[in-house]
């Protein structure tokens, strides 16, 4: 990857986080992965202490987002990201167990770039994440706007 893209992983389930990280690594992606187990911490990191998101200017971010978080729904985070002028260009991959059509539609409407359902079947799961890793290694991620 030409840019030092930082992968932000917002996932409350540690096991899921571990499995995702492992499979991304297996696909040969070695970018830094910053994990968050709840929405509040993730928001604090993304938008900084002033809530503007200015801390991340000139950074390339890629966000992996789970919808079912203990303190808020991923949809709220998605909305905040896409409303923020600094981080709105960062690609957001929603990675969740929900396969409700309404939910999927809503996420795309709010500006999510990819929506992936976590399959229970591990082979499929591993496959999906590895392909996502491959996808990460080829896509171009813009720097957050200044």
């Amino acid at each position: 990857m030409s840019l030092p893209v930082k992968i932000i992983m917002i996932e409350d389930d540690e096991g899921h986080a571990r499995l995702i990280e492992r499979n991304i690594r297996r696909s040969g992606v070695n970018n830094e992965i910053v994990p968050f187990a709840n929405g509040t911490d993730a928001m604090k990191y993304l938008f900084g202490s002033d809530g503007t998101g200015a801390e991340h200017k000139d950074q390339a971010l890629l966000i992996l987002l789970d919808l079912n978080l203990p303190d808020m729904t991923g949809i709220d985070i998605l909305k905040r990201i896409k409303e923020n002028k600094h981080v709105k260009c960062a690609p957001v991959v929603v990675l969740t167990t929900t396969d409700d059509e309404q939910e999927i539609k809503r996420c795309y409407e709010l500006g999510c770039n990819v929506y992936i359902t976590k399959p229970v079947n591990y082979e499929n799961f591993a496959n999906a994440i590895r392909q996502l890793g491959l996808f990460f290694s080829v896509i171009k991620v813009p720097q957050t706007s200044t």
Partner: protein
């Protein structure tokens, strides 16, 4: 108002009415009696007056006779003689009448018994004087009258008559008093009775008023209850709908949240499987090194059991047990995942909004049949359709219902008998009744309710399935405002009967927010 109070009040009213009636009867009887008594008393008063009158009449005739005799002797004219005769003639009946009037009174009878001989004696004297006069001996006759024999008799008669009059006066007074008494008694009875009747009437009116008011109140309450009933039904329906939605949300969330840990279990089990391969290939390498066989370097991670070095028999056993355990875990997880998916699908179906449209039932079923044609020919089965009623309902739901039932019919045929599936329908009282009849293996009657439960199946378990189809069908039929029943016997085939409203509009179960 309690039933007891009402009954007491009714008894009171009846008692009052009865009392009023009894008093009326008593008053009437007493009045008739008293009036009769008053009349009798009055007639006795009249009687007394009559007796006095007769006494006076008798005395008058006596005086007349006396004065006639005197006139005759003075004037010597015959006119007076005939006058005397006349008086005597009239005296007789007068005395007779007096006797008949006074038979009731022994005192008067005694007096009369004295009076009549005295009178007769007096007349004998008069007649002697008259006879002397007729014979021309006027001087002698005058002398006879002067002798005073007659005066004594006359005064006795006067005394007796006076006594009789006194006696009658006494009776008159007594009888008048009795008549007065009777009349005033009658007046008192009538007045008291009327007063009582009026009082009873007042109490009755009060009671009737009160029960009328109670009835009006009850009526008002009833009317309000009727008005409220509709509202209450709506309220309850709303509550039920909310409860139903809550259950569905609950099922959805639970099944959804169950999935998350399942991903971990499955994921790490698979990771363990990978690890197992690595571990056992290492064990194999080490044991080989230990037995001084030159080791071939093995790349870690990419080995698979087939390429792995030969394990020793003990290790092989361990590896197999390891694999077996992992296999059970994975198949159980797979099953759990399917069950959770089924629940999710059911709740999703429950959340879907229904849109009633006009449906050509025959066309809908023909489409389903054409999609299962391959299955049917494999099972050596034929599917027949009789004329079906068209209905207004949700197309997708109806499609799922029929396709599940036809699928089941094809799935559970008897292998030794060519399958025959018949679909027929009819209209009845605003409902469309559909029957799906097969000649398959049938269902034991004890399982007839069970088969509609989620994850429950019946009979020989030789076909794939989760026990979801019929649960789903029942949920759909209920949402379309209908019912589903089965009648079946083992080895004799089954009949599923669906009753759906012919014109389904958003009913109580179908309306979703």
């Amino acid at each position: 108002m309690t039933v007891d109070a009402a009954r007491r009040r009714t008894i009171w009213q009846i008692a009052l009415l009865a009392a009023g009636f009894a008093i009326l009867v008593a008053i009437s009887t007493a009045s008739i009696y008293l009036v009769n008594r008053a009349r009798t008393d009055a007639s006795w008063v009249v009687h007394t007056v009559e007796v006095e009158n007769q006494i006076s009449l008798a005395q008058l005739q006596m005086r007349r006779a006396e004065s006639a005799i005197r006139g005759y002797l003075l004037t010597e004219q015959d006119v007076y003689a005939s006058d005397f005769e006349e008086a005597q003639k009239q005296l007789e009946p007068s005395l007779e009448k007096l006797r008949s009037l006074t038979v009731d009174n022994p005192e008067q009878i005694d007096s009369l018994n004295e009076l009549i001989p005295a009178t007769k004696q007096r007349f004998v004297e008069f007649r002697r004087a008259l006879d002397l006069g007729r014979a021309g001996k006027f001087a002698e006759a005058k002398e006879f009258l002067k002798s005073g024999v007659g005066r004594e008799g006359m005064s006795r008669i006067r005394d007796i008559a006076a006594d009789m009059r006194v006696e009658e006066d006494r009776l008159f007074k007594m009888r008048t008093n009795a008549a007065d008494h009777s009349q005033s008694l009658a007046a008192i009875v009538t007045t008291t009775g009327s007063g009582l009747v009026i009082a009873l009437a007042a109490i009755s009116i009060f009671l009737v008023r009160r029960s009328a008011r109670a009835r009006d109140d009850a009526e008002q309450e009833l009317r309000e209850a009727n008005l409220n009933l509709e509202a209450r039904v709506d309220e309850r329906t709303m509550d039920l709908r909310e409860a139903n939605e809550e259950i569905q949300r609950f099922a959805y969330i639970v099944s959804h949240d169950l999935r998350s840990p399942l991903v971990n279990i499955m994921g790490f089990t698979s990771e363990l499987e990978e690890l197992r391969t690595d571990i056992f290939s290492r064990i194999a390498r080490y044991s080989r090194a230990a037995s001084a066989v030159p080791a071939i370097p093995e790349p870690i991670g990419d080995t698979n059991p087939a390429d792995a070095p030969e394990l020793q028999s003990e290790d092989k056993q361990l590896s197999q047990e390891f694999s077996e355990a992992l296999g059970f875990i994975k198949s159980s997880i797979g099953k759990m995942d399917r069950l959770i998916s089924a629940i999710l699908n059911l709740t999703r179906e429950g959340r879907r909004e229904f849109h009633p449209v006009k449906i050509d039932t025959r066309e809908l079923i023909e489409t389903i049949i054409s999609s299962v044609a391959h299955q049917a020919s494999e099972a050596n089965a034929q599917i027949r359709i009789e004329p079906l009623p068209n209905i207004v309902s949700d197309r997708l739901a109806l499609e799922q219902v029929f396709s599940n039932l036809i699928d089941n019919a094809l799935k559970y045929l008897r292998p030794d008998v060519p399958g025959d599936i018949l679909i027929k329908g009819r209209h009845k009282l605003g409902f469309a009744i559909f029957e799906i009849i097969d000649n398959g293996r049938g269902i034991d009657p004890k399982d007839h309710t069970r088969i509609f439960d989620l994850f429950r199946r019946a009979g020989v378990q030789d076909r794939k399935g989760q026990g979801i189809g019929l649960a789903h069908v029942r949920a759909l039929v209920r949402r379309m405002g209908g019912t589903i029943n089965v009648s079946s016997e083992l080895h004799k085939g089954s009949t599923f009967t669906i009753t759906l409203p012919a014109q389904w509009t958003f009913g109580t179960q179908g309306k979703q927010t």
